[in-house]
Every structure is written in C-alpha cells, then in structure tokens.
Symmetry: C2
Subunit: 338 residues, 2 copies
DNA sequence: ATTAAAGATGTAAGCGCTTGCAATTTTTTT
DNA sequence: AAAAAAATTGCAAGCGCTTACATCTTTAAT
C-alpha cells in the first residue's frame, strides 16, 4: 500500500510541540514574542518533522510575499545578467526573493508578465526603461505596487528610477568619435519601437552629429534586433553604400561584436580600415579583437541601488527618488583616430 | 480622504455578474462546464473590474501552481542563458511559468533554494547536474516533486535527466587535439568540488591522455572559477612552467576567452604559438579572435526537451527517462595542428 | 406526457497560514 | 501579599480561491 507523501503543516508542528499554531507561527516570524523554552521546543519539532512553511498560505495570510518581481527584455544576452545578479544578491541579503521573467522585447508580453507577477503577490517590481503604455502605470498605481525603473533615468518623472542618461552617454561617445576626425559615421541601432534605451542612444548620436554642424540626412542608420547576427548583416549592408563609413557606432556591444566578426570575415581590418564602437561594456567587449571601445555602464551598482531603492519604497514608503549613475567612456582598440 | 486601492476578488466578480463564486471559477478554469450566456456575463464583469486571480489563493486551493522552478549555478555568464530561455519558452507554451534562482555554485545555497521553490509550490524542478547531497534527493522524493536534471546525463540513474555525456564529449575533443600532434597539454578546469560537469570534463581529457599512453603526472591541471579573469590568471601561471604547453584545454568557453585575451596581452600568437580549446560553444566562442575550437552543446534543444520531460513527469506521471543529446566538435581557428 | 439522463449552477468546506483579541501566566510594583 | 503591568499563549476569524456534492433546469428517451 502506498502512503502518499504527506507534507507536514503548521498544525503538525503545533501538535508535536504541544502548543497552538499561533505560537508556532510566532516562533517562525517573531521570535522575540515567545519564551525561550517554547522556542526551543517548537524548533525541535520543526527540525524533526522537516517542516517548511507553505509559501502561498503565508503570502495569502500575511498579505505580503517578500518577493520582488523583475521583468527583463531578454536573458539571452549578457546585457542584463550582471545587473540582475547584483540585484538578486542585494535582495537576498535583505530577506527578499527574486522572480525573473523575460518579455522578449514585447510590450504586450511585458504587460502580461506584470499582471502575472502582481497576481503572484510580488511586493514590488523592477522594470527596464520607462516607455510603456500609460495603462500599465495606472494598473500598478491602482494596485499600489512599488516599482523601480532601471537602465534608464528620468529625474523629472513621477516614477522611481535608477540608471543613467543613455542619450547623454551616447552623445559623449559620439563627440569623442567626431573629435577623433571621423566624418562618415554609420549607426546600427536596436529596434526603436518600444525600447526607449535604444531611442535615447540614437538621439545622443544625432545630438552630437547636429551640434557639429552636420545634417541628419547624412547619417545612415540601420535598425535591427540586438543580436550579433543582425549586427553582422547590418554591417554588410552599410559597407555597400557609396560613401563608406569610417566608423560604425552600434547601439550595444552585442551588435558591435557581430560587426567586428563580420568585418574580419569580409577582409576589413578593424580599426585601420574601419572603427567600431559599442555600448554597455559587457564582458564580451573586452574579449573581442580588437577590444571594443564602448560606454561603460555600472551594472552591478545599478542592480544594488535598484534593490535598495525598491526595498525602501516597500518598507518605508519613502518618496520616489531617481538615482542617476555615472557612466564612462571605455577607450579600447576598436576606435582609432582618423 | 484616501481610499486604499482595493483589489477585486472572485467575490466581487460573482456579485457583479450575479452568479456564485463557483461559477466564476469555472468560467476561468473550465469554460466547457458553463453555459455560453453566463460565460459572457462573467467575462464582462471580469473585464470591467479589471480582475486578476490571486495566484497564491489559487495555488493553495488547487494544490498545484503551474509553476516550474529552475536553479542554475549562475546567471552571470552565458552558459545557461540560452538553454534556460528555450526552457522558459516551451513552458509558457504549455501554460507553465518559470521561477529562476541562482545558487552561485554553492551546494548549500542550492539546497536552500530547492526548499524555497518547493515551499512556493513549484510543481516541478529543473536542476543542473547530478552531484548533490543524497538528503536533497530524499527530500524531493518525500515531497513527490518531479525533477529533471539537465546539462548532464546519467542513463543508468533513478533520476530523469536530459543532457549529454560531458566526459565522452571532452574525450572526443582531447582525442582530436592529440591526433593533431599535441603532446604538451595543459588543462584549466572549473572548480571540481560540487560540480560534476567540471569533473566529468576533466576526466574526459584524462581518459584520452591515458589511452594515448601518457602519464597523468605529465598533465598539468589548474582548477579555478569559471570566470575570464581566472582563465587569464591560470594561463599566466601555466606558461611559466618548464615545459611550455602547446595547447591549453579549458573547462569551458569563458575560461578559454580569458586565456585568449591574456595570451595576446603577453605577446603570444594564438594558435601559432599556442592553441586553445573551450567547451559549450556559447556565443562568445565565435566572436573571440581567433575563434574558439570548442564542444558544441545543443543548449536550446536541451532546454526544450527538459521542459517537455518535466511536464510529462508532472502531468502524466510517466516513467523517468533520460535523454542523451548529441554534441559535436566545433573546429575553429584557435586550435592548430602542431 | 412522464421519467430518466445530462447539464448548469449554487452551497460550503477546506487549502495552510497570520494576527487581533482575549485569556492566562509571570513579573513588577506598592 | 495584593494589585497592576507585562509577557506569553491560545482562540478563531479570515486571506481568495477550488471543488465535491447537492440542487435545480433543461433535454432526451420512453
């Protein structure tokens, strides 16, 4: 005869220890409210039964889950990995758990995942960027879910955020590129639709371009998904133009890696024949050859600060604040003076 | 006056639609048991109230969560990203959700996360590798939690698994290396303790080495964490030996990327001066220069198959099976005939 | 038209936990 | 030693949902 594996509950522990369930619950959650001897008695019962609290029941009764949800556009490339890891570490340290899902850069899917995470009782949410349907923000506000937007910063906003100014950062890099003598710039951008970071970065290049007295019509731009293959394909297309670019500025490092590989395949020497720049400074950037000139983003710091801000929001109900982090330009071999 | 944001419940919907909560529940879960007109009525109420079911309550009442937990050693490098993304996609397709956490390669932490996920009501678990405390397996068995082990395969085991033979794969690569004339092999392995994949891979090299009549004492091995920096440091150490290696075989691509970078920094030409091999064939492998010879692992397929197996286990209670996937050797420029 | 079968809906008992309040015990104060 | 205050503990009412079972309608069969 098969006895189904019965999982011990609070009741079982209470019986074993000869106390009420309320007391057991207190032993688990507010030790200071319980006498040392009962605590010992109860903990022993917990041990011997191998009791683990049922999370769903606890969340439901306590109306809080000690869980934070994060929705990132993708797990597939390293853009968010490092920041998210730091985010999680900080959360664990503070007694929270992390639920991750990925939206595949699809706003619809993101909205759905937000509902999903809220339905799961997430105490707070980490979202990437700020551009999303107003209805989503309304939903979050109505539900009273503390939310932090990361990887972007919007100081004047009604939302809490931690990130950096994508536009100013990219402009800084573009200024440098132009100062180094480049006049034929081509841009490989991520898909702009629904991705404010990509849009800001492109705008940064355009800012610089125009500030230097050039015309937007003379700035070739290709929009393509954030994948190395796409970067490679875009490069192939760009170098067939009448006026060859002397530098390719990419919306992120992943695209740039694709460009560098493809350039070599096609017989270009980077940076002698053509320079390349990226954005993010993911690990890859140091290891492609030539090493990639890029914008260094303090991912780990961003993750940590985001975690702290979010928990502040949840626990202390502090005002929403925006943290603006500093970026820096990482000059490496892929960009050369003309 | 501030009205706290009150979240609509099943009751609210039932009232609004003029039916019982049971009926609303049926509309949401088993439409076919409800008449078309009530369905319409209820759905309208759901819409207008903006109702989202409370996940915790549902999981508790139904005793199943439609949630799968996965614990991976790290999110930080790309080793697991691709497989996990595919895993998630397949799960979503089948109506399941994924909860991810990372154990930082610490068995203790992993055990804790397992309990955590089980407490959260995970219907099943995806774990990496097979080497873990027997107590963990007992716990899982007692709780009756279907579990699939991935990134490793253990055909003769009592556990369901989907993966590949790390040992045989690495041996295949080592055979190739030796066949190409290399006699001075040095190995940079991941930390063996608590990481069966790393151990198997090392064993594969040793198998080949001995099969070719060499002595284990002549095979330098450095154990180090799976990070590019560690790979670089290990390389620096290895090339200071009396007999210089002609090839460095690395436990994974991340280590190998570190080696290639460092080698260039130190003035070595890869592969003319020294060859390098990796394992995994992550994206990075194609984009380092020279491109990395490595073992190609079908990560996406592994993720998909793992998802399917796990769901089979959960829904149909089928027997545990092991899926052994085929790997292949990806010959690229970093390995050269001697 | 009568009865049986099938279909739709409602009733209510939990699922395992937390927590306000009341009851009890212990400690402190007078 | 009695009274008051403080510290422990227990009681029991939910938290929002699912589902076995009972009840009521409708449809099919005789």
């Amino acid at each position: 005869m098969h006895v189904s594996p019965s999982i011990p509950t609070l009741d079982d522990v209470a019986n074993a220890a000869g106390v009420s369930t309320a007391t057991v619950s207190r032993c688990l959650n507010e030790k200071q409210k319980v006498s040392p001897k009962t605590l010992a008695k109860v903990m022993e019962a917990v041990e011997s039964l191998g009791y683990t609290p049922n999370f769903n029941a606890r969340a439901m009764a306590a109306k809080q889950s000690h869980t934070i949800g994060a929705i990132i556009p993708t797990m597939e490339n390293a853009i968010f990995a490092r920041g998210l890891q730091a985010f999680q570490e900080k959360l664990l340290e503070k007694g929270y758990n992390l639920l991750v899902s990925s939206s595949a850069y699809q706003p619809k899917l993101e909205a759905q995942q937000i509902r999903e995470l809220v339905a799961r009782g997430a105490d707070g949410l980490l979202l990437i960027g700020y551009e999303r349907d107003e209805a989503v923000y309304e939903y979050l506000a109505r539900r009273g879910i503390p939310t932090v937007l990361a990887w972007a910063s919007i100081p004047d906003s009604e939302h809490a955020s931690v990130g950096f100014d994508n536009r100013a950062a990219m402009r800084l890099l573009a200024d440098k590129v132009i100062d180094m003598g480049h006049r034929q710039i081509a841009v490989i951008s991520g898909i702009l639709d629904g991705n404010d970071r990509a849009a800001e970065r492109l705008a940064g290049i355009q800012d610089s371009w125009q500030a230097h007295g050039f015309h937007l019509n003379d700035l070739p731009i290709i929009q393509t998904p954030y994948e190395t293959e796409s970067g490679a394909a875009a490069f192939e297309q760009l170098v067939q133009a009448d006026v060859k670019p002397t530098v390719i500025m990419c919306g992120n490092d992943v695209l740039a890696a694709g460009v560098i590989s493809k350039a070599r395949d096609l017989g270009f020497n980077v940076p002698d024949d053509i320079s390349v720049t990226g954005f993010d400074d993911i690990e890859l950037a140091k290891h492609v050859f030539p090493a990639l000139t890029t914008v260094h983003v303090p991912h780990r710091q961003m993750g940590r600060v985001a975690a702290e801000s979010l928990i502040d929001l949840i626990e202390n109900r502090v005002e929403k604040v925006s943290h603006q982090l500093d970026i820096s330009i990482e000059m490496r071999a892929s960009l050369q003076r003309l």
